[in-house]
């Protein structure tokens, strides 16, 4: 049994309490501002205690930006992004760490490269890719000369004419953000620490690679899946620029864009109370996700089977 060092435990508690207070201080101010009336929130300095208008503000916010629909959109998009990222990255990392194949290093660096470019540069081209998903295919068909070959051989004209646009669709909000170097990298790091004996044993038992993946790797990855799941859900939840640009239907937008709509315009009444209130309401689903995924942070998974 590990000894208990009481001074150290006390110090740990103290550090955590202080950190919790500090990290939540900005949230507290959001709560204060979100519970004041428009006249009260203009006071400088802001009061230290919350006011009594929280429910009233929440109701105003709810109807003003149609928060219900936006929350639903955000949940779908954030879940889609998180689940998608985790799924494709688990597979990628599995491939990169457990298989010896050509271009393995190249593929890893290609995935990694996607972290290294500021979004501003690719806004318009990405938008073009999203409104015309088949463009790369068309390009490929033209460049490769497949179309003329087919035409010459069969007389059929091969054309990629479908007009496939993801504008104003959940797919359009999810797919462009689904690739993940972060998750691939983290799973790679994690898989590399998994004892070789497990894989050896699986192979001796005649298990296929995918069976090994499902029955051994996936369960062992649970803490990392939880950590990444939280991070990616919040990443998806807090997306602003893509949803703003990639939707032109007000009903298809997300809650963060809705909040931005409540940020007082330079010239108008600084009704920050509504903005802050909306920001707090928008935190509720992420908090539920954080709490739900807590159960996956179980200790000592790596010892299973020892």
């Amino acid at each position: 049994m590990i000894e208990r060092a009481s001074w150290l435990d006390a110090a740990c508690h103290a550090i955590l309490v202080v950190a919790a207070l500090l990290t939540c201080l900005p949230l507290y101010y959001a709560l204060v501002a979100g519970s004041l009336t428009t006249a009260e929130v203009q006071q400088v300095p802001l009061p230290f205690l919350p006011g009594g208008a929280f429910v009233e503000n929440a109701r105003a916010v709810w109807t003003r930006i149609g928060l219900g629909r936006l929350l639903l959109n955000s949940v779908i998009v954030a879940l889609g992004i998180a689940v998608g990222k985790l799924a494709i990255s688990l597979l990628s990392a599995f491939a990169i760490t457990y298989f010896r194949f050509r271009f393995r290093g190249t593929v890893f660096w290609l995935i990694f490269l996607s972290l290294m470019l500021p979004v501003e540069v690719r806004i318009v081209p990405t938008f073009e890719a999203m409104t015309d998903v088949l463009m790369p295919l068309r390009l490929l068909v033209q460049l490769s000369g497949v179309d003329s070959l087919v035409q010459a051989m069969t007389g059929w004209r091969l054309e990629v004419s479908a007009n496939w646009s993801l504008l104003n669709s959940y797919s359009g909000l999810i797919f462009p953000l689904m690739a993940s170097a972060t998750a691939t990298f983290l799973f790679r790091q994690f898989f590399l620490t998994i004892p070789d004996e497990l894989c050896d044993a699986a192979r001796i038992d005649g298990a296929s690679p995918m069976r090994f993946f499902w029955t051994i790797l996936l369960p062992m990855s649970r803490p990392n899946l939880a950590a990444l799941g939280i991070i990616f859900f919040l990443f998806g939840w807090n997306q602003y620029l893509w949803p703003l640009l990639f939707t032109t239907e007000p009903t298809m937008t997300t809650v963060v864009v809705g909040i931005k709509q409540l940020v007082p315009h330079g010239d108008s009444i600084p009704a920050w109370n509504l903005t802050m209130n909306a920001a707090l309401l928008a935190m509720l689903p992420p908090i539920v996700v954080v709490l739900l995924l807590q159960r996956w942070f179980v200790k000592g998974l790596i010892e299973s089977g020892k």
Binding site: Q42, V44, T131, V263, I269
Partner: protein
Amino acid sequence: MSMAVSRRAILAGSAGALPLLRARPASAAPREIRFWHAMSGVNGERLEEMTRQFNAAQSDFAVTPIFKGTYDELINATVAAYRTRTQPQLVQIYERGFMTMLLSGAVVPVQELMAAQRHNINWADFIKPIAGYYTHKGELAAMPFNSSTPILFFNKAHFAKAGLEKPAETWQALEQQLRQVKAAGGPGSIMADDYHWSWFENYSAINDYQYATKNNGFGGLDTEFTYNRTPVVQQVGRMKRWMDDGLLQTAGQGVAAAAVFTSGRSATFIASTATHAAVMAAANLEWDAVPLPYEEGRTPRNSVIGGAVLWALRGHADADNAGTASFLAFVAKPETQVWWHKATGYVPATNAAYALAQSQGWYRERPTQEIAVKQLTRGEPTANSLGYRFGNFTQTMFAQREEAERAFGGQKPPQQAMDDAVSRGNEILRRFERLNAGRY
């Protein structure tokens, strides 16, 4: 042959699968006119209300207002949409984006659109500095929507404590007053976020100082900044002196400059007349407003505007354009103008609207709301006060602010700061000239 067929089938299959995840807008009877805007907060609600009024007044068209973020985000969204042919009919673009839009090839000049759709608008009736800002080759290129100009708000209580009634008319006398207010235990003044607009650009227009050659850019793309050879340099020095002496503060991020003023923590506040909305929403504030100060010995001219205009985008069916024009005609109506003026604090765009507001007794009720209109219509605009027409205007403005802030922080003397701002600005103008040669 089978290969081609199966390939087709695959493509068709994938194209068909995805719309499952797609929300289809219900097709309604009136033709939809999409209107992208950047008005958040309370002004956004007012804008939506305006579109509802239009939709209720007729049944052929329905304008859908769509919030597209800040002005910067909106112009980027417009670019992306236009390049993928998904653009809306109408976009609201800020004044500094004028040249980009004008030379974009993506817009239908509003006067051309209205003529083609047979709407009769009295273009000559638009208030000069507003129309002038957006007029190219004798025609208004976009419909004035939210226009404002800075005025000087002041805290009556702080002035009274120093034995003063109201701010003086010249910068020199104002400085003395601000020192008196400070000596009487009052606070300094707060500077708005967009200080370059009021303290440099409007300052130059009101005092009739040249800002750039070629009539401040109206005369050609080969314009060059000259404000490093005008009293703008002294103005930068004045601002630094005021900051050093505690007479002037920047609000920074995290608090609106207007909130510092409305909470009684500043003696004066030079800001857009649209700030009226915030000032009037504040409780327990004794305030009043006056026109912007000018330099001793100068005759004050008209101030220049800021804000945004509505651009009609190309690439829409004639039936859509009819709707766009119909809405723009509605925007230009004196009744709409006055309603918007009262609801938001922006200035009316036409003399008819101004007269209507007067006849309704609005300015007896709200005298300070008239200051901006009077300041805009003060005398005949000169070549120095009609406005500014620079390509990449935002970029030159950022270079100028950066250099001015170096002077405020004491890293450079004001003269050198403005020399550097001008030389950086001119380089930026040359890039625009090179790209757009022969198109203005």
